[in-house]
Symmetry: C2
Subunit: 247 residues, 2 copies
């Protein structure tokens, strides 16, 4: 069952008037907003000690390209300032102690939720991915291997599965780079199909942060960069999560 309050979803950023009038956004204390440093966001997001399962770790389904590039970036976490992001089964685990602003809350009689990109539990069947984030460069790399349950045209990943992977990579990047919380827009140009079971590398950059919005770009391509699968841009709205009061 869904509570009535669940329905009281604010209009995200009053989108229709956003471009010229960011001041009419939901009441927001602009002097105190977005004061959280990327470092503090990362350390809160990337719980070092936890019993939660991290789904962004190699398993037997990963193709050699994916494994090799994972190891390569893992090395860079020691020397080049990259961070491997953990990936729990729900965003609820990532934002423990925090909640969405403006009464955006949901309760239901189900206790079993999953973030969409971790909806399939059998290794290799659905989304296999890991995101590396570079705090000072404000960029991310996502290694993405679509499984046979993500199919569109026979043998190839569904365009929607790549769209979702881009949105998810944008989402984590936007949050850590500047408390980007909600997708305002997502524009994708598809160039080539991704064969099921192969690796696509998503390169995400934060282009600018302006008027309470993060502007990002993404290019998804083969490891050797010889084949571009798609290019996209995304805009996220900055909003601070609120501290959850203990009961």
């Amino acid at each position: 069952m869904i509570r009535r309050g669940f329905q009281a979803v604010i209009r995200l950023g009053h989108h229709r008037v956003l471009p010229g009038a960011p001041h009419i956004l939901p009441r927001l204390n602009r002097t105190s907003a977005f004061g959280s440093s990327t470092d503090s966001l990362v350390s809160r997001f990337c719980l070092e000690k936890t019993d939660l399962k991290d789904y962004a770790l190699p398993n037997a389904s990963w193709c050699p390209d994916m494994l090799n590039l994972y190891q390569e970036f893992l090395e860079k976490t020691k020397t080049d300032g990259w961070i491997k992001l953990p990936s729990f089964k729900s965003n609820r685990d990532h934002i423990q102690g925090l909640k969405l602003p403006f009464g955006l809350a949901a309760t239901s009689d189900k206790s079993d939720w999953r973030i969409f990109t971790r909806c399939l539990q059998v290794e290799g069947q659905g989304y296999e991915y890991v995101i590396f984030f570079h705090p000072s460069k404000k960029k991310s790399i996502c290694l993405f291997q679509p499984g046979p349950y993500l199919e569109g045209a026979p043998g190839f990943a569904h365009g929607g599965s790549l769209a979702a992977m881009m949105d998810e990579t944008f989402s984590k990047t936007a949050y850590l780079a500047g408390e980007g919380l909600f997708t305002l827009s997502l524009n994708i140009r598809f160039k080539n199909l991704i064969p099921v079971g192969s690796l696509a590398v998503l390169n995400v950059d934060v282009e600018k942060i302006e008027d309470q919005k993060l502007y990002m770009s993404c290019i998804a391509q083969s490891r050797d960069q010889q084949r571009v699968y798609a290019k996209s841009s995304g805009v996220f709205l900055q909003l601070q999560l609120e501290e959850e009061l203990s009961q």
Copy 2:
């Protein structure tokens, strides 16, 4: 294992030069192309007699809004020219006897594929949806209820899950309305979050068919049309499937 031929994916429509130069598309007999009528496409796509499971039928997880609107449109299939599209577990089932053009083929040692939007089998857990198509109006309605495994922000559907649902509804509409086969672009503006377990109604229109491309628009909203969840546009490339030669 993936055959080498699997990798030989053509560049979709040579996208960079598409706008001004559709003549350089993969060799296509333009006089004979796209000669299939919508009626023949629909009758081939909507197998009337089949043992395949149709996933676009009501189940216990459907909310009252979804059930009611489903019944309403089912009535319209009798009088108003709407068609309820079946939804099989893979596009392979929908295009039996046909194959992708230009050697776009995939083989693997797995026999278990699923179209992305039917990747979760437990009723109510993932995608619940049904698409109604109107051949002469070239429009579709998709009733979409996201389950708890499609979550993004706690309690709400992941933006990527809606993006994929839009892409899939565009895809089926584009194919039946004019042999639109591949997504070239997808642009989405998000307005409000969709609560998990509630109904979103996607209205899709084919705006025009020009230069081998189908241009479509979509608005996703609550049943009472008081809340817009997102608006989008999609462009699909027209390409004919090829007859599969029996072995």
